[in-house]
Amino acid sequence: MIVPWGETRLVQGNEAVALGAIAAGIGFFAGYPITPSTEIAELLAQYMPLLDKKWIQMEDEIASISALIGGRLAGSKSMTATSGPGFSLMQEGLGYACMTEVPVVVVNVMRGGPSTGLPTQAAQGDVMQARWGTHGDHPVIALAPSNVKECFELTIKAFNLSETFRTPVILLPDEIIGHMRERVVFPLEEDVHVVPMPIPDVPVEWYEHYHESTSNVSPMASFGSGYRYHVTGLTHDVHGFPTRKESEVIAKMERLKHKITRRLDELEDVQMHDVEESSVVIFAYGSVYRSALAAQAILRKKRKTVGIFRPVTLWPFPDRTVKEMLDSKDVVLVPELNQGQIIHEVERMTRDSVRVVPLHRIDGYEITPEEIVDAVMEVI
């Protein structure tokens, strides 16, 4: 037994990601070493052969994500783990997976950038790269854990969402979350929901690789299952063959968009604390959310009430809920481990009368509760 079902353990964030992948039924891992994500690859190299699952270290990150897509097309749930520079290289494959609608999971343990940056230190600098890193319009799902238990849970969720929406899902822990150790009470195996790989049930001659179903997603056949089809990164018709026909191009692109935008309710995942009763709200995700919780407690002692709005799913951005909950506030403080990325989304969803205040930290260290308290006291 690799996943300690029902037990309590002291676990590292990256370790919890590896265990979550096993719990979700990973069949194939392809990766390339990069700090601070390496523990995920190392642990899976240890676990996966024991379960007769396939693990490979490729020659670079481009090869890794390419192999991943090949692996899923051949019928194995696939995941890779990387960090900023490797994530940049993977953008080519991410775009291909979006376009060809192959479900894969990409873990990006965020470190300081740009370029080689701060390899062993924390940042939230890849939030926008996760959204817009690959070229062209494309759907994106990205999740940001804030503790070790969530690393386990959200990895399983990432696999589930990727299978449900037939699209790559990005897990975005920052280095602090990836490297921290916490006590985790693991659930019982029967309490964990794992989405199996959907399998088409239509006769071979009826199969459309990109069937226009009402959910905008159709079950994907695996290579070798008897459904022979074509896969290409070129814009394609419902069978997967290249097309430049206006109606088919538009249909493809609209469906790619709608499969996310018309099912936002299934994707939205936010946590709110005292938002309704507060005129000042801290908008925080990842490791910063932890500091925000601590800051809220300190402020409570000072008899100041502040709310916390925390998106667990970063992309698609929770537009409607942000508008509904934050549009009437006086101040929204957005502390981030970057020079201001998600803050633009908050600004986009709030009217001009709401003061949206940034708090940056870019030296590779955490934003402390005290820094948030000071920033709140300044704006109150």
Partner: protein
């Protein structure tokens, strides 16, 4: 009387996907014919074949064959193929690539596929330039040759694909041409039979771009060049050292038995499990 349909047709998406994109006089279609004849000789089920490719003229081939087909990003065919083969080792993976796709942007992937000895057959159609984008130079453009990006002549030395693959550890390495079709059929068949990473380089004309830029004539003249400029291994043996100058050698250069990656991985799993049980 209805005309007899050649058996190759059953491997083609003949009704839906033709005419193809290749120019008149292009050699890629001939290589596709060789692949199909070799597949037929192997007796493989179409459901068990994955043809994977990258980007370029050769990489358009998967559209036309009725297998599981995967047209990927530039240079990455072998990386995608590695994932396919790992996830389902029962599938027969054929990677088709051009010279630019496999050796420039995909250079890293092909040397590591060879080193790993993953059980994939790579077929490289070498037409000495990037055809799809309008005839730019590639890693196999001969020195001095003119292309759209070497208007004053090519100054870089080219790769010898077969030597490169030999050095990188491939199990089977051969070079043929689209003029010597029977020979090419046999090379591809032997490559399919080989367990481990096998490579066949097929020299092919590109009259539209490379031929025109270098005034090599039309399709017929370029075919003649493949005949005149190449010799096989026994011809090479019979010739004196000086006589072989400027000739390209055809033949099977490497045919060795080494354990494919998949077999090694299976052993690894077995050993890992045994070690874990011993610990208990």
């Amino acid at each position: 009387m209805s005309p007899t349909i050649p058996y190759e047709y059953k491997y083609l998406r003949a009704k839906k996907r033709f005419p193809h994109v290749w120019c008149p006089g292009c050699g890629i279609g001939i290589v596709m014919g060789s692949i199909i004849r070799a597949v037929d000789a192997m007796g493989w089920d179409k459901d068990d074949i994955v043809m994977v490719s990258g980007i370029g003229c050769t990489s358009r081939m998967p559209v036309y064959v009725d297998f599981n087909t995967l047209h990927t990003t530039h240079g990455r065919g072998l990386a995608f193929g590695t994932g396919v083969k790992m996830a389902n080792p029962k599938l027969n993976v054929i990677a088709v690539m051009g010279d630019g796709d496999s050796l420039a942007i995909g250079g890293n992937h092909i040397i590591h596929a060879a080193r790993r000895n993953i059980d994939i057959t790579a077929i490289i159609v070498n037409n000495n330039n990037y055809g799809m984008t309008g005839g730019q130079f590639s890693p196999t453009t001969p020195p001095g040759a003119k292309t759209s990006t070497t208007p004053y002549g090519m100054i870089e030395p080219g790769f010898d694909v077969c030597k490169l693959m030999d050095g990188a550890g491939a199990s089977f390495v051969a070079r043929g041409t689209v003029y010597h079709v029977t020979e090419l059929d046999n090379m591809i068949l032997k490559a399919f039979r080989k367990r481990g990473f096998s490579v066949v380089e097929a020299l092919a004309p590109c009259p539209t771009n490379f031929g025109r830029a270098n005034r090599l004539g039309g399709p017929v003249e370029m075919m003649q060049l493949l005949k005149d400029n190449t010799i096989n291994l026994s011809q090479q043996k019979a010739m004196k050292p000086g006589q072989t100058e400027g000739k390209i050698v055809r033949g099977i250069f490497v045919d060795r038995d080494s354990i494919p990656y998949g077999d090694r991985y299976e052993v690894l799993c077995e050993n890992a499990r045994k070690a874990a049980e011993a610990k208990k």
